[in-house]
Symmetry: C2
Subunit: 430 residues, 2 copies
């Protein structure tokens, strides 16, 4: 069904191949920047249709990847991330449908003003250009990222984990079919056609201006490598060491609901809470119920001396726990002396991702929201809302914790830049 | 009057010194992010007052720098950039007054929306953090950059050319006095207190997260070095290879006015036109008047064969001319076959800075504005408007030609990032 892998693996001159791919992506980006919303949506519809129609082929290609990964001794968690079935293929197609429904950000005039000399200036959204997405074993990232980049008018070069190569190739075939049906350049969505790991290093160099931004999608070691080596801008977050601070003026019921959801709804997502901070002034009434609730729900609690006294099952926390992203049913817990102390703790140990306060005191909430220097700060809501879909962005390519360009969920709007269009009537500068 | 330079030049451990400066700037940045507009404006007012009151001391310190630079054989142009007099000192103070008058971007809610579950999300502007500005001989950059960073709530670490060290120290003393009078941390505006050139290299490393963005202000070699070596984001433009395209449907009078202004108003600014493109369909009537006008105004014209035929004084252009930023009274000129050919030329040779079209045809203008991928595109207006002040930003720290975060003039708003503030009533994620 698929071409043998061998041909791809024998790229005799990888740097030339990559430079050529980038040049093709650049040409496609120029055309995509001018493509109409209708044309992009037609491509997205055709892509979803092709994925649904090719579910069998995709799952068969994926089965070959899974067999190989198993033979190589991959872990059960890895195999789960890699594996596709009918439901997951349908979910990929449905994800593309969602992106089709998002408003096109390109060409939107975000501001317009007129100067005293009569010149009218417009600030208008334009695509970034060429996006490189480096991901690991989940093949669905290919469809997500391909769709989001297309909608935002960007060409994308995708490089998946070599273990998912056959799956990616099968999905990519469907995306290209969609592009072709809509009359858009096939190089709009390019899959690096080799498993050679050196391709990643070449992408990170930016290929001499061929790549405008790199988006790593994967575990900490991938993201850390990309951030350390990339010579072009990166949308990435290393960690979500997120806090829930339960203030003296919190409703205990609300605190319990939010803390439980923030930690336990899905302990492995980047918006999951990793540290619980409880106000000393309310510890007598709130600490025990919160800690006991978490432990009863199957969460390991690692606490300071005060927290250990609240429940005999609490394990002692070490200094390291305060900065750890467990991504698991474990939470660090600490008693702090009011909102100022909570803010100081978060600024010292947090990762500027997502932090929440539970309180009925609006003034205290305002202080927390203003002073905690994180991409997302919430008052009386769960940290698990840190998600582009939950923000109403339709979909996201990731969450950025840097302060440059994008911060928080990176949706189609964050995948654009802008230009100034100036309309004059012969103005010259005095 | 000033402390001897020696003490500063003997920094025995420069890396420790720089790390310490960055840590101080970070602490100041945390406080500045929360400072009120009134407090920042009070500091700016006191800074301008101190500069005016210390004009004599500043000019005396500058005279020592100028004497040393002369002794070292500096060029006349260099001495001019370095030199301060009463008018230039007053212009520095006036520049700070302008920044004081700009709206405070920090805390501005740029968007707000409510989710179906009742959560209200606000996108609010926050400072970037710590900005490093690396500049060359013009000491006024210190006052400009210090004021803009303060207004936008950022701490700034300034590193001037070693030739302007005494001047910078005298100006910096005034800025710190203003900060002190307003009760803001002195480390909000830090001058690297050594002439050791290794300090620049250390700033470019980002000092282990101590610096959030680097702004080079100076010639091509400085900007190129910063872009090549910086391990943190950079706001920079390498060149302004700007074009004016005179379309077949242009008014000749308007074309003449705009072309003359775009090239000759100040040939050395980054918004100056470097290439004139004339539509073949109107060359018979427009080429000669435009070329003759330029040459008569003292501009050297380097043209292709068609342009050379228009005026005997035209010199032949080489391939290199199409990509050259002359920053001088020289222009490259070429006949192109309509707007599509003009766009293709600009995309091939331009630097994505500022490009203009002169035409009475709205459709052609729209095509040009949409398809030329430059930070600023103008219709019937001079390229010399590429300036933050002219855009109404009050002042600018530079012009960015990248597509990330800032593009075009970088004013106080471009010196900010944003965060999401989420207001809930106990929402959890299903």
């Amino acid at each position: 069904m698929n071409a043998p892998l061998k041909a791809f693996d024998e790229a005799s001159d990888l740097p030339s191949l990559m430079t050529e791919l980038a040049a093709g992506a650049r040409r496609a980006a120029r055309m995509l920047a001018l493509a109409s919303t209708e044309q992009k949506n037609a491509a997205l519809a055709a892509m979803a249709k092709a994925i649904r129609a090719s579910a069998k082929e995709i799952i068969a290609a994926n089965a070959e990847d899974v067999t190989e990964a198993r033979a190589n001794g991959a872990s059960a968690a890895f195999i789960d991330r890699l594996s596709l079935n009918d439901a997951r293929v349908e979910s990929m197609a449905a994800g593309i449908d969602v992106v089709r429904g998002i408003d096109d950000p390109v060409g939107v005039v975000s501001e317009t003003w007129t100067r005293p000399n009569g010149m009218r200036i417009e600030r208008v959204r334009v695509p970034l250009g060429v996006v490189a997405v480096i991901f690991e074993s989940r093949p669905n990232v290919l469809a997500d990222a391909g769709a989001l980049c297309l909608k935002s008018g960007n060409a994308v070069i995708l490089r998946g984990g070599s273990d998912s190569f056959r799956s990616c190739r099968a999905i990519h075939t469907c995306l290209v079919q969609g592009l072709r049906e809509a009359g858009l350049p096939e190089a709009s969505i390019t899959l690096v056609p080799t498993r050679d790991r050196a391709a990643v290093g070449l992408l990170l160099t930016g290929l001499s201006g061929g790549v405008d931004v790199i988006v790593p999608r994967g575990g900490k070691s991938l993201v850390a490598r990309v951030e350390a080596e990339a010579r072009v801008p990166v949308f990435a977050h290393l960690e979500g060491v997120n806090h829930v601070y339960v203030d003296r003026a919190a409703s205990l019921d609300m605190a319990k609901t939010i803390v439980l959801n923030a930690k336990m709804r899905r302990p492995g997502v980047c918006g999951a809470a990793e540290t619980l901070l409880v106000d000393k002034a309310a510890a007598a009434t709130q600490l025990k119920p919160l800690v006991t609730m978490l432990i009863d729900a199957g969460c390991e609690v690692r606490g300071d001396a005060d927290v250990q006294r609240a429940d005999a099952r609490v394990k002692p926390a070490t200094e390291e726990d305060w900065g750890t992203e467990y991504e698991d049913a474990i939470i660090a817990a600490k008693v702090v002396n009011g909102v100022d102390d909570a803010i100081a703790h978060i600024e010292k140990y947090g990762s500027h991702h997502t932090d929440a306060i539970v309180t009925e005191d609006e003034k205290v909430a305002e202080k927390f929201l203003n002073q905690v220097d994180s991409a997302i700060v919430l008052h009386n809501a769960s940290t698990q809302f840190a998600d582009g879909g939950e923000f109403g962005f339709g979909a996201e390519i990731g969450i950025a914790t840097g302060k440059f360009h994008a911060r928080g969920p990176v949706g189609v709007e964050q995948l654009t830049s802008f230009k100034y269009r100036v309309h004059g009537t012969g103005q010259t500068r005095p």
